[in-house]
């Protein structure tokens, strides 16, 4: 006789059952759990207690503008805001154009971004009248971009180009070219030593991430090249770069880049950006190489056997698979790059971290007992955590989405 199919044994569900199974399964476990819970609760409660009742947030509050745009001229604040608008607008368009699958990730990131921007706008509405309308415009453009793209799907073709153009336009707004006080054709030049804070952190990390990606791929492929000159150059480059900490390369770029450029001394911001991109590219290359090596050799062979050109098989078969298998490592690198931008302070630039340090050492801060260092650091911690966490959420979503129905 055929055995009837039996239902699996019932397993208790719910929080209590979970706790009994995982935290209090025996006396020893229960003891550790209780001690751990008490310690954690005590720590969190004292922190919250301090944050709400004892901390002095005035300094953070009063210096928000410094930390956002540093000493960017107040009457020109619309210019950094214009860059924000462009980016949010394109973000909205991307979300509007994205379909199922990986598109969901863009939409979810867009929702978060709009939540974040909406929060700032609310704060601005009540507390910062000078930028109130600029922030409202940001929100409106974010929503408008979404619906515009929904209404005109053919924009999808233009989107990559718009994103590329947005970088140049943002830079144009931030830096300004041409005009001066009495010349209205153009935007007054704002030297990069005046801009800083969060806007610099973002501009710097996004540029670094975008540029190190193709460069890293090129280095990884070069490392596998059959031509010894290319191969050994790439190995040499990668190993040299990885052999010293970023801070060394930031100094080196400051001192050496002018030598390579025949005495021309680019702005500090460009030197630092070059250093960060070249640095991150070496790590990117090693990540990509890991992905390339993990790819079964049959994939290349199948592509060859079908007659695909080397370029097509790289672009359509090898890289898409190699990259997806190392997404967590790549996102880890991006998160690191985002945080490492705080090192650019050593070449005289003022990103968020540098501005916060400066604020903490303002003469007025000294009047407050113990300074206001802790408040500023908590503010920064929340800022960095928010975006790093968001990136790692996107990475997990991407993994899940790409893993679906494939292997």
């Amino acid at each position: 006789m055929l055995q009837p199919a039996l239902p699996p044994p019932v397993r208790e569900t719910g929080t209590l059952a979970w706790m009994r199974r995982n935290l209090f399964s025996n006396l020893w476990n229960a003891l550790i759990s209780v001690v751990a819970l008490v310690v954690i609760a005590w720590g969190v409660l004292s922190l919250l207690n301090w944050m709400v009742f004892a901390a002095n947030w005035d300094r953070v509050w009063a210096n928000l503008r410094l930390m956002s745009i540093f000493r960017y001229p107040i009457e020109l604040v619309w210019r950094p805001m214009a860059s924000v608008m462009i980016v949010i607008f394109l973000f909205g368009m991307s979300a509007g154009l994205s379909k199922d699958g990986t598109g969901r990730i863009v939409r979810s990131a867009y929702n978060w971004m709009m939540g974040f921007v909406g929060f700032i706008t609310l704060v601005a509405l009540f507390a910062f009248p000078s930028v109130r309308f600029l922030w409202i415009a940001v929100v409106v453009l974010g929503v408008a971009g979404f619906w515009l793209a929904r209404a005109v799907p053919v924009l999808a073709k233009a989107l990559p180009w718009l994103w590329i153009a947005s970088w140049f336009v943002s830079l144009f707004f931030l830096l300004g070219v041409g005009g001066n006080g009495n010349n209205p054709t153009g935007l007054e030049f704002v030297p990069p030593n005046l801009w800083g804070g969060i806007i610099l952190t973002f501009f710097f990390s996004v540029t670094g991430i975008v540029l190190c990606f193709p460069l890293g791929i090129a280095l990884a492929l070069g490392r596998q090249s059959k031509l010894p000159a290319i191969k050994y150059f790439c190995i040499f480059y990668i190993e040299i770069i990885r052999g010293a900490p970023l801070i060394t390369w930031l100094f080196t770029a400051s001192l050496l880049l002018p030598l390579f450029l025949g005495g021309i001394r680019p702005e500090a911001i460009i030197r630092a950006q070059v250093a960060i991109v070249l640095f991150a590219a070496a790590y990117m290359a090693e990540n990509v190489r890991g992905g390339l090596q993990a790819l079964p050799k049959g994939q290349r062979e199948a592509a060859h056997a079908l007659g695909l050109t080397p370029w097509d098989s790289m672009r359509l078969i090898i890289l898409p698979q190699a990259l997806r298998s190392v997404i967590p490592a790549i996102v880890g690198l991006f998160i690191g790059l985002f945080k490492d931008t705080s090192l650019i302070t050593i070449v005289g630039l003022f990103d968020l971290f540098a501005v916060a340090l400066k604020v903490a050492t303002q003469p007025e801060s000294k009047l407050i007992a113990g300074g206001i260092v802790r408040e500023l650091f908590i503010f920064m911690a929340i800022f960095y955590w928010f975006f790093c966490f968001r990136m790692s959420v996107a990475s997990r979503q991407l993994e899940q989405e790409l893993g679906l129905g494939t292997r």
Partner: protein
Amino acid sequence: MDSVVSALAPTGGQTIIDISGLNKWFGDFHVLRNINMSVNKGEVVVVIGPSGSGKSTLIRCVNRLEEHQQGKIVVDDIELTDDVRNIDKIRRETGMVFQQFNLFPHLTVLDNVTLAPIRVRKMKKSEAEQKAMYYLEKVKIPEQASKFPGQLSGGQQQRVAIARALTMEPKVMLFDEPTSALDPEVVGEVLEVMVNLAKEGMTMIVVTHEMGFAREVGDRVVFMDAGQIVEVGTPEHFFVNPQEERTKSFLSKIL
């Protein structure tokens, strides 16, 4: 010996693959030794032999997945040289099916099948899709077109791989142990597709140990051992009175 000689140099018909004096080394290891073999249009040649005897290497030389060091390989009147244009032409005319399928896991079945026609033959997408569906029907899985390879069984994956090669409309199909990685119960569905293909007149070189297949549609069987062609003949010749000792001992192990 008669059959061996006539089989080595088939008369009548038109030669599509001509291999002569082929030698290949992996480092110091002499893996293919003085191989001479030609295949006529519409012929089905089955290659058998013990593991490591060089069967895969031989058919992989035909589409330049492996480079040979000596000898001459001519496919459809194009000689295989270092000239990339010749290699590309030959790869367009030869389809290959691998033991491990080697489907592209990040593309749907339909995209797997249309990729090469669109990229290599510069076919329009709609035309390629039409053609792809025709061949997917031929291998009896049109309904799986929008799935990913990972969602299919081994037998289904191998049939997709066959459709992928066929959609390029090659003149020759190379099969490298297409059923060896399959569960026994799905071997039949893949062999059936291959038998139909053979009956329609496709030129095929098939490395396999499926003697039923050889008997049913094989025109010639080639037995290889230690990098050499030991014996060539019709399937009947092989199963009724193989000449060489090595052939006999190999056949006694697999039959």
